[in-house]
Symmetry: D2
């Protein structure tokens, strides 16, 4: 369904920089579609009255998959930030580090 989106126009990042993950976009989308499948699997489990503990095991698996997706995205972003430091200077790069650190804190605490 997401594929019906008119994304071809290539909406720019709201921060005016092309995102660091463009090259691996297909891999990210594939991962997200697999997670979507896991969530739909959870609905089937609940719908067929599956034993609670077995549902919880699948929730843990989906949570881990989401975390892995986030960690992959973050690694690319940090790599991108570091490269940008070389072209845009230290000050802008440090602002990005602050922003990335806040995102890391949200991940660690969620």
């Amino acid at each position: 369904m997401a594929n019906e989106q008119p994304a071809a126009k290539g909406t720019q990042s709201p921060h005016g920089a092309s995102p660091g993950y463009v090259n691996s976009k297909d891999a990210h989308l594939k991962r997200l579609r697999r997670i979507e499948g896991q969530i739909r699997g959870l609905q089937r489990l609940v719908d067929s009255d599956t034993y609670c503990i077995d549902v919880l095991t699948q929730v843990s698996a989906a949570t881990r998959a989401l975390e892995s997706f986030a960690l992959g995205l973050l690694e690319e972003h940090l790599a991108h930030c570091v490269s940008e430091a070389l072209t845009k200077g230290d000050e802008e790069a440090q602002a990005k580090v602050k922003e990335a650190s806040a995102a890391i804190a949200r991940l660690v605490r969620s």
Copy 2:
């Protein structure tokens, strides 16, 4: 899609007990459909090259929603275990506590 499942037959829990969450099944399914929407939203964000940090914020929100779903399920399950202790005796209830504790550990560590 989950709704096409022939779940009306009321598949029993593999452990021979009707799951503790039957009464709130609709609420759980509604919650999961909302999470599915969040995952599809993530696909749209990636597909339209949204800035990485903004994608990560949405990942944190989806992770928290999954955790809340799991915590709700778990609370009902524990309530069910405790009630069962009164009818099935302490030994069986203690086995359930062990099993639930393992599920909690997976949630805490994921």
Copy 3:
């Protein structure tokens, strides 16, 4: 230092029930002393300018040790709650389940 505490008097739980972990108190204290050692080890690492990533690895180990301590405590508490249901009735046991679930939520989210 904790050992200098006059704990022999057996301060009662604020909720009027003897805690579910009394039997394994020594094991819990041993675990906490080991974690205290890990925190002191972290201080030595920082004090001697150890490489940040190596410090972070030890922080992850200490966090996991704290989580394991909490999970052990929680399992005993749940076992205790279930046993109590048999003597104190379902209503009181269900109140305990609510309380335990809130503690689990704090652990999962921290």
Copy 4:
């Protein structure tokens, strides 16, 4: 006790770089001493048979304090990495990003 360590020699980082957190060492040590106090407080709680749920609340607080310490350390490290990219070149900086990402993954999963 950590202060008795002969740390004055200024042990170098094993990776040959002075750690990024040297300037804020005192703040980090102060934070760790407070966490050590929290762990000792936990021992007193267990030793005096405090109600399990109240002990768990304090464990969550200590875990969050450890996470905050880690996140602070990490932010400084990333800032340091980015600055280094300007002097040591992109290749070395990218190796650091890989290493930092692995540490972030350990934090998110612990």
